[in-house]
Amino acid sequence: MSEFFSRGFGGRRRPPEGKADRIPPGQYYEAGFPVLTAGPTPQVDTGSWSFRVDGVVGAARSWSWEEFQALPFEEVPCDIHCVTKWSKLDTSFRGVSVDTLLEGAEPLGDYAMAFSYGGYTTNLPLEDLTDGKAWVVTEWEGEPLPVEHGGPARLLVPHLYFWKSAKWVAGLRLMDHDEPGFWESNGYHMHGDPWREERYWND
């Protein structure tokens, strides 16, 4: 629908100079970091925290918080895009690459379900999690990840809408087929590429 324009609309939240090409279609530039969560915020203690890789794998793996801290951490500068329309540019997280977490696990399926403390789930094709595209992060802009943003640890998959970056993540379950997670069962897209505006089921 290209011909229509909105009478008297000029646009007041245009992105800063030179950054327009980093804002996907239908998104707007947001300097803050809004909080969007379905249900109560789970309180996860690092003393009992663990991260697991299981499902259709050759060898299931699990790390305690202490063991996880000993893994190689990477700084991840990125832009993030929430399906509720805001995009945040030039932010950064710190965490462990999913490639590292899958090493030795021998994934035998092409899909994964991220699962979280509190019961949240979201599905991703394995190819969106590997080759330096996804991390499990515990820091945001130099500080421990705040609990309302998924602390102590969340998945980070910046090239997909941010609901795929599961807060309070507890593990990845490898699957031999795709299956909808929480939002994907409730009207949101199975894949969620912001550059293709894959927001809802029919997109």
Partner: protein
């Protein structure tokens, strides 16, 4: 330009949800000094679930577009139209447009209805907790309850700052479902609850936590407090649904 492929048959034109369409504004109601409701007539209408939202897209003459999601305030029994209630955010670009520019007869590009999580599908008893404009999707639930099952047990706890902030004031006062609380200035002579929502208000609703479903919508802080109180009151976590509004957290 002539079409290279035949026109699609009417039967295969996709129905909403998902398809952008041009709605026409048929009524505007001033709810409070910063809140207005807009009735939109839709060429492709489908019934929504109370709690669902529509996406709105504005297009500037140079092609710049802005999208936002707005909760539906109306019952799905209002065939052919939806009502969106929009709070004016001074630093926004879509809500000020609705408030300052949009008139009856204007056309607005929309698509929906979307999302199937924060929706009321007849659960009983139900406790609704709304903070400020967070009452909007809850109003769709309350309106639909009144139209379809008036005797069903549904209560609304509604937190506002001042008397002038109450959206749907007359309509809420026409029933007995609502417990209001004023966090800043109660109206003269007010003998009801003041201050933030607390455990006593939840208990006073009479909704049995062992059987009840709860829907909380408002700012991040409001929803965090509400869901903590609901958990402490004994509501099961899986029966507490939340939706957070507001610019930043």
């Amino acid at each position: 330009m002539e079409r290279l492929t035949p026109e699609p048959a009417a039967a295969v034109v996709p129905k909403a949800p998902g398809r952008w369409q041009l709605a026409t504004v048929t009524a505007i109601t001033v709810e409070t000094p910063t809140v207005k409701s807009f009735t939109l007539a839709l060429p492709i209408w489908m019934p929504h679930l109370p709690g669902q939202h529509y996406d709105v897209r504005l297009t500037a003459p140079d092609g710049y577009q802005a999208q936002r999601s707005y909760s539906i305030a109306s019952s799905p029994l209002r065939e052919g139209e939806i009502e969106l209630t929009i709070d004016r955010l001074d630093d926004g670009e879509v809500s000020p447009y609705f408030h300052d520019v949009v008139e009856v007869g204007d056309r607005i590009e929309v698509r929906g209805p979307f999302a199937a999580y924060f929706v009321w599908t007849g659960e009983e008893p139900t406790l609704l907790l709304g903070g400020g404009s967070g009452v909007v999707p809850l109003m769709a639930m309350l309106r639909h309850k009144r139209l379809t099952a008036p005797s069903l047990e549904m209560r609304l706890i509604y937190s506002v700052r001042l008397a002038s902030d109450v959206i749907y004031a007359a309509e809420l006062a026409a029933g007995d479902e609502t417990q209001l609380t004023y966090t800043r200035v109660p109206p003269p002579g007010w003998e009801g609850h003041t201050g933030r929502v607390d455990a006593a208000m939840i208990a006073a609703s009479g909704v049995d936590p062992a059987r009840g479903a709860a829907f909380a919508c408002g700012s991040h802080g409001f929803v965090e407090t509400s869901s903590r109180l609901l958990l402490e009151a004994g509501f099961a976590p899986e029966r507490i649904k939340t939706e957070r509004y507001g610019p930043t957290g």
